[in-house]
Amino acid sequence: MWGKGILNGMRITMRNMLRGPITVRYPYERVTLPERARWAVEVVRDESGAHKCTACMTCVRACPDHILDLQFTTAEDKSKHIDYLRYEMGACMMCGLCVEACPFDALKMGQDYELAKLTRDELTVDLLVDVAAAAPARAKKASEVPAGGTDDSRGGGTDG
């Protein structure tokens, strides 16, 4: 009978009310994200702030949305110089394929979800920027194989 059903429904809502809210008061308390939660792509850096990117272009090819843009110049001595690794955060669907594809573990998925931006320009982030200050250090090791810039190109990234 639906008279009984109504009473049962009322009982359930009252039970919920007495059970108290389950709300997370977001700015004041936060949910602990699962370990493998994926948000914007970030560059892995060690303590000195150095990254491991070799400009191998694997991530760029792996990205299904074509949002990664890596531009590098090869110097005369065959050394690669990353001009920029541009990342369009606004179009990223955070699938993590670039991270899986990277053979040097230079990328990771960030856990920062406070990504809201006020202008469209901020949605495009340069993950790696080659700066002029890094040039002398690179020049010293010019003969070496360009494997994982240990300290040669300091990433002055403006990542979010």
Partner: protein
Amino acid sequence: MSPELASLLRILAAVGLMLMNGVILIYMLRRVLGRLHQRLGPVHVGPQGLLQTPMDVLKLLTKEDITPTNVDKALYFIAPAAVFTPSLMAYAAIPFSPTWMVTDLDTGLLYTLVVMSLVSMGLLMAGWASANKWSLIGGMRSVGQHIAYEIPLLLSVLPVVMYVGTLNLSSIVEAQSGTWLGILPQWFITNPLFWPAFIIFIVSALIKVNQTPFDMSEAESELVAGFATEYSSMKFGLFFLSEFSNSFIVSALAVTLFFGGWTLPFVPDEVLAPIAPVVFMLKVYVGIFVLMWIRGTLPRVRMDHLMQFAWKILIPAVLTWILVFGFIIKLFDLGRPVG
């Protein structure tokens, strides 16, 4: 004080009460619905979110007031007032205490119900004037359900009138003072004879409140916002205010008719007299809480089921009950006419 000034002040007090009620009830609704959903409701603006509704009102007041191109201008402007005025008028006969009422109408019960029935005309006006199919359907639905449930609502209070022999609301309250056998308060709700009438009254009174399960006229999943679709800023605020004021009136009527109004059992009159309005308001707010509880629980009824329920079940049921009730109180001589 001249009687004209006194009545003017009373009207102003009713307006103030209505506005305050609107502000408090919106806050209360959001908190109660929040808790029923295991949420918090507004908490961040002001202490415990108390400033939330004043902020909403302020925002609505400073919002742009749009008049869409194709609307019927005159009716579009009159409609919010036509909805607001009857729900304000309905405060006139409610007895808050033996002395606190706008006017002691001899036909108070009938007056309140009749005035409440005019609200739906304003809604139809708004629906027609908006030049929007959703508004029109919302207005038609609103009038349809109000008309259908008007009859069981009016008939369901008849047992009380037959028992007490008056339409005066404060006399009805006075008839409920005292106790049964010194244990139960002598409210009509403690008398099993009134339970069928009470159930029918609550079901039909829920229509007046215009909220789920009977919010057919502004069903958001079907009709955008029903009759209020084209209304912005404070015009929409007036619809909102009238709706919340209606829920206050309905609850006040239920308290007056079945829950003893401002009376309390076991409390001597000298103690009760100064706190009577507070007692009444507390009872009314408990009633409003139950309305909100129902709102937070039940899903929307389908329109044709709603109408069939009124015409085919509720009206025959209430007519039968009046007949049975009349026989009972005549045979056992139970009536207690006052005055």
